[in-house]
Amino acid sequence: MNPALAIDVRGLTKSFGGTKVVDGLDMQVARGEIYGFLGPNGSGKTTTIRLICGLLTPDGGEGSCLGHDVRSESEAIKRETGYMTQRFSLYEDLSIRENLEFVASIYGIAKPKHAVKETLEKLNLADRSHQLAGNLSGGWKQRLALAAAIMHKPKLLLLDEPTAGVDPKARREFWDEIHVLAAEGLTVLVSTHYMDEAERCHKICYLAYGKLLARGTVDEVIEQSGLRALKASPTLEDVFVHLMRDVTDNFARRKAG
């Protein structure tokens, strides 16, 4: 186990009803890194994140998260991890403040009132703290979800498509926030479908059909693809389209054969 790694999983496998959704996945994320997690719909990103934080039990493979075993020590992982789920999962019939107070008490934060106040100010939520979560617009909801995920000062932040349905300005602010948090020493694993967001990550990986197809810095991923030989200044998007064409062909061939 490498203590410099926040996430270190090998050969992770998970099936639902006979279909391998995550297939022998290896992933290493260094502490303090912002790690982008890309891949088409249904490629297994959410499932992988759930496996990492102990919300799902892997069928095969092993690994550790913040030095705790993903199979047996999910309790410890839960306490040191903040997870912002893909679907908004706070209480819509509770106000911003009530939601945060609830989360603070569940994590057993020492001075809950104080922690809530601090978090509200940090994320500019103080003015709306009495608004019901259900009445918030997309961007503010995401902000609240982020607030709930970081209030207990986790070491690892798992963000599952945190900016889906958020306008460009709010998206940029959200990412500024993530960079501030990373600068404070937080490790961030973030899944996304936006290429501009991928470019703001220290490292990225690309998942399709539960398998990792590429990983490294954005530059490395473009380099590895070999597209530079075919095209002048290929973008990340070009690379992913190219990768997917290969996989889909493979898949079709395997099915036919």
């Binding site: 309790e75 789920t85 999962s89 706070l90 209480y91 819509e92 509770l94 009530e98 569940i106």
Partner: protein, 377 residues
Amino acid sequence: MSARFSLRRLGAMIRKEFIQMRRDRLTFAMMLGVPVMQLILFGYAINADPKHLPAAIHAQDHSAFARSFVKGMENSDYFRFVATAESEAEADELIRSGKVQFVLHIPPQFSRDIERGLRPQILLDADATDPAATGNAAASIQFLAASVLARDLKGPLAAQGAPSPVDVVIHRRYNAEGRTELNIVPGLIGVILTMTMIIFTALAMTRETERGTMENLLTMPVRPIEVMMGKILPYIIIGYVQTAVVLAAAWWLFEVPFAGSLGLLAFVLFFFVAANLAVGFTFSTLARNQLQAVQMTIFFFLPSILLSGFMFPFRGMPEWAQWLGEALPLTHFLRITRGILLKENGFPEIAPDLAAILAFLLVVSLVSLNRYRQTLD
């Protein structure tokens, strides 16, 4: 480790549950509205004092005494004689077919026996399928016997304090227990609690799953027992409020008297409500959505009202149905509440039924904690 139970986390769960309860106006209104509505619905059924019930006469004596007895019954407004039976068989047929609710049998030599002071028997056959419908009418005839005939009597038989000159026997058919209307209120408490408690917990949990908040709950270090208790305790309080509402309304609106100890009732109530909440919690771990949770609740609720002795006399059911009934907490709770409120039962009398409720609570809690998943697998 957070493997230990934490009062703080439990407190957070309970507080959250109360806030949500308050925000959900409709549900909150139902919690208090349902008991009052049911009580009023059933209550007017309780209070109903039907008059002019169809009756038949099977007279084997046509004396003046017999005639004034019949006249007296009609004057009481409870009875309306609509048929005459010539034989036992005909009388039987009239009551079985529902053409009449009562048959009055006047024996041969009725007047001769009265005059000799032999206290002849008058038999009143009553169709007691619906005891509330026949109760008052049947009760009135006892007074009639004394007052009506007294006018026709002379000599020592008419003396003050003399025993009633006839012996009225009421034969309640189809409902041997002849339950009184007072039976309904204690039963109603149990029925209302069974329905509301199960449905609210079943919904409270499935709502978390359906709205996706379960995922967030699972990502946090909260123990299953804390979630379960956090869901159950607020509703125990609601259960007490509902019971108080029913008892107060029954006392105030319908003047139902309470004989026994309310403290003992409150004690038993805790376990009965907890048992129902545990059932609701178990359903919520099985149901995929709120609709399924409601269906499961009905699936449990129907046998509860049918087999517990609320609807039909428990002893009137076939043995297999009684066995099923014994497995339901409502059955035992009904015995306890009726015992406490009507018969002034104390702890020793109710202990066996309380033990049954505790056993039920234990088994269901274990099942539900076992079913509750800390992962999304």
